[in-house]
Symmetry: C2
Subunit: 270 residues, 2 copies
Amino acid sequence: MDSLPSHPIGVFDSGVGGLTVVRALMERLPFEDIVYFGDTARVPYGVKSVDTIKHFTGQITEFLLEKNVKLLIIACNTMAAVAADVVKQLALDVPVLDVIEAGARNAVAQTRSNAIGVIGTPTTVNSNAYARSIHHLNPNVRVYSQACPLFVPLVEEGWLDHPVTRLTAQEYLKPVLVEKIDTLVLGCTHYPLLKPLLQELAGPQIQLVDSAVAMADQTAQVLTEIGLANPQRHLPNYEYYVTDIPLRFQTIGERFLGRSLANLQQVKWG
Amino acid sequence: MDSLPSHPIGVFDSGVGGLTVVRALMERLPFEDIVYFGDTARVPYGVKSVDTIKHFTGQITEFLLEKNVKLLIIACNTMAAVAADVVKQLALDVPVLDVIEAGARNAVAQTRSNAIGVIGTPTTVNSNAYARSIHHLNPNVRVYSQACPLFVPLVEEGWLDHPVTRLTAQEYLKPVLVEKIDTLVLGCTHYPLLKPLLQELAGPQIQLVDSAVAMADQTAQVLTEIGLANPQRHLPNYEYYVTDIPLRFQTIGERFLGRSLANLQQVKWG
């Protein structure tokens, strides 16, 4: 079936983190319908093998294509890092955007010193996907990456401005900050919730790149270019599919989304 | 097929944590064969819903029963807390032991003040399974529980004696330590790796209960009682099945097991 401007945008992540991208899309494109998929039964992906991540990513892509999405957004840095090719193969002529490319573009546009820091999950950092994407745009930029495996659990614990989080962030950021970077990419959808703390530790001379916001900007641009922006000024429809609804899901999800979470449905797999 | 003394013991967990139980079994019962299953593609369970945990637990139980295990050990506190009934229904006449009952028995035998603290994942603590198990053994014991969601990621990061872990542990233990407990149950298979730090913070007047050791003691006793202890003094066979083999799995697994990890096989599900 051909895509129409009235069709929804499909956004997916390994869990709730991608809701930060949904939030940025709602603000930037208030008349677009959105279908979200979060694989909460198998989250987190950032510590799993590449083969397993590719397999899971394929399942999610097929699910969203059946919802007739006009555009697919990989809101999970880990999936974008190691499984973007799987999504593109399955999507055929449905365009695929991902948070890594969006973040890399934004960072390259902002840096003056040509030294960019990237923080993310171990799988994202080990994949080297940000460095590849940044070097593709500008080979003269130096990229300094750091895995921060404790940031996701700290955000999910809600310790956004806690002494433990501050001490952990100081330790993780130390090797990146000595490199005289002027731009720091938050390479995980959980990290925007730590933005105030990270900005304070990084200092005012370093710009933080929030890939959720960069993603929404790029989406607006692409939809206009391909003639698939929704012209209707209607009340948009939001649907959320997850593979598990654990304790506190509503609370955590609403913290990411910045508003109440309705139309939540559970998909049973496996 | 009837169980024979030469058949292996089946041990399972949501990930690598259950290897602390395998380690205790190897030391306590050096001539028993062991088949281990870790659901590393879907770990952690401690933040998932009860329905999802029951479904996953059933799959693992069926897998191990096909390996002709003579005894099943639920080495995951979360599964023991909410899905022990699923295992027992499927196991028929194969006996099922679990870390919660083992830890509860040991704690009740040790306490003098009749005040026991329990720390675990959010799902384990919310299930109230330790309190139920302890009260079943002695209704006069007071139980004080505390969820410690950051301990698992901290152990997996390898920060076993790090200022961040110390600060986190101080915060989590505070409400439990004010209750004049004399026994603290480590209600998660990851926590034995934090024993030195936790013992230091708890002080010498508090006994820590390591459910892995308690589990091995109970297993030895049950196998003798039911006449299924392996009489052969042979070199035992150890097999490890996991649903994913992520980066650093070998390193992390060997940290839990305390020895090298051979015969590792990946099972593909979902």
